[in-house]
């Protein structure tokens, strides 16, 4: 669950963008950073290689403002997508409240998508997550390209939880905010008590 500081009237949620290498995780975060009101965002921190591939994570804090007297923040992280960085992915997943799984819609990326999806669930299960408490959204990215899977096919392959599905073209911003809004609402709904 989220970190709640009653004394400071503050609540922080952690959202992780997951997916295979070059699927568009960092592109999502960079678009959000560019377009969100500067007063609502913190610094975009990227730990990347010289070739601008994510080495450890990207981090972007976003403030929702004060809700029912509680200052509410979402901390967005990406993981490194390349398969050999699994140790880093496990570390970034610690304490996660919501996951955006980004699928690269191209038919040529089938194996990478499936490997990354299985790796996500392996890592969540290994760290003892109560998966029913997690927010989860599937973003199908690169819908503007040719030779892509249908939404139905990708849903069958990468969405065994029946999570919300959003079609996107992150490089031009299509679906980026919708994805963010959906996962944020999910994590709040999951953390609320009747």
């Amino acid at each position: 669950m989220a970190l709640i500081n009653l004394a400071a009237r503050e609540i922080n949620y952690k959202i992780v963008y997951y997916g295979c290498g070059l699927c568009g995780k960092t592109t999502n975060i960079q678009y959000i950073y560019r377009r969100v009101n500067p007063g609502a965002r913190g610094r975009l921190v990227s730990i990347a290689t010289e070739e601008e591939r994510t080495l450890y994570f990207d981090f972007l804090p976003l403030s929702l403002g004060t809700v029912k007297g509680l200052r509410t923040r979402f901390h967005l992280y990406t993981v490194p997508g390349q398969s050999f960085y699994n140790a880093s992915r496990k570390l970034v997943l610690q304490g996660v409240d919501g996951v955006v799984f980004i699928a690269d819609s191209q038919i040529s990326r089938l194996d990478e998508n499936v490997d990354s999806y299985l790796n996500l669930w392996d890592n969540l299960i290994q760290q003892g997550e109560d998966i029913s408490n997690l927010g989860m959204v599937l973003q199908m990215n690169k819908r503007d390209l040719s030779s892509i899977f249908s939404v139905a096919d990708l849903t069958e392959l990468l969405n065994h939880t029946g999570s919300p599905v959003i079609e996107a073209c992150a490089i031009s911003g299509i679906g980026v905010f919708e994805t963010l809004k959906t996962v944020c609402k999910q994590v709040i709904a999951k953390s609320s008590r009747p």
Binding site: A40, R43, T72, R193
Partner: protein, 168 residues
């Protein structure tokens, strides 16, 4: 790997924590002291208002500490329980308080490292039971109720006014 436990800090616990941090900052003559979660979220600092970007600091320190723990595992060392960065003008010392909490302290070269380590170690011993209490806190998290959920949902809907998803 840390499991998924809740952490709810109430007023009484925070007063104790702030008092310990203020004392630590005073006796070590450090620039500032911060507590952050191992998942990268800031909790509090002493002094309360600092020029440092505490959000980025918390995320980076937690990531750095997590990587250090993995290094220990690779080297078959039981644990590296602290992390030290030495700079030209200031140093950063990171120490684990509990499974979920890290203590960060920054200080200049006018403060001795040994003094910082001594007092930080003592502070950790006092902080530990307070946070173990916070990890077991139940009930207060009910503040995240349906009303909060509804109001937050409306705030999220109006988060990006005038922004269309298709705009480049």
């Amino acid at each position: 790997m840390a499991g998924r436990k809740g952490l709810v800090i109430n007023d009484e616990q925070m007063q104790m924590i702030d008092s310990i941090l203020n004392k630590l900052q005073r006796v070590t003559a450090s620039k500032f002291v911060a507590l952050v979660s191992t998942s990268g979220q800031p909790i509090t600092t002493a002094p309360p208002h600092t020029d440092a970007d505490t959000l980025s600091l918390a995320a980076l320190a937690a990531g750095s500490f997590a990587a250090t723990r993995q290094l220990a595992e690779v080297l078959k060392e039981r644990e590296f329980s602290l992390l030290f960065h030495e700079g030209r003008e200031s140093n950063l010392h990171v120490m684990q308080v509990t499974e979920q909490i890290l203590l960060l302290i920054t200080f200049g070269h006018d403060t001795q490292v040994g003094r910082v380590r001594l007092y930080t170690g003592r502070a950790v011993e006092v902080l530990k039971p307070v946070f173990e209490g916070a990890e077991n806190t139940t009930g207060e998290e009910r503040i995240i109720d349906r009303d909060y959920s509804r109001e937050a949902g409306a705030a999220i809907d109006s988060w990006f006014p005038g922004e269309g998803d298709s705009q480049a």
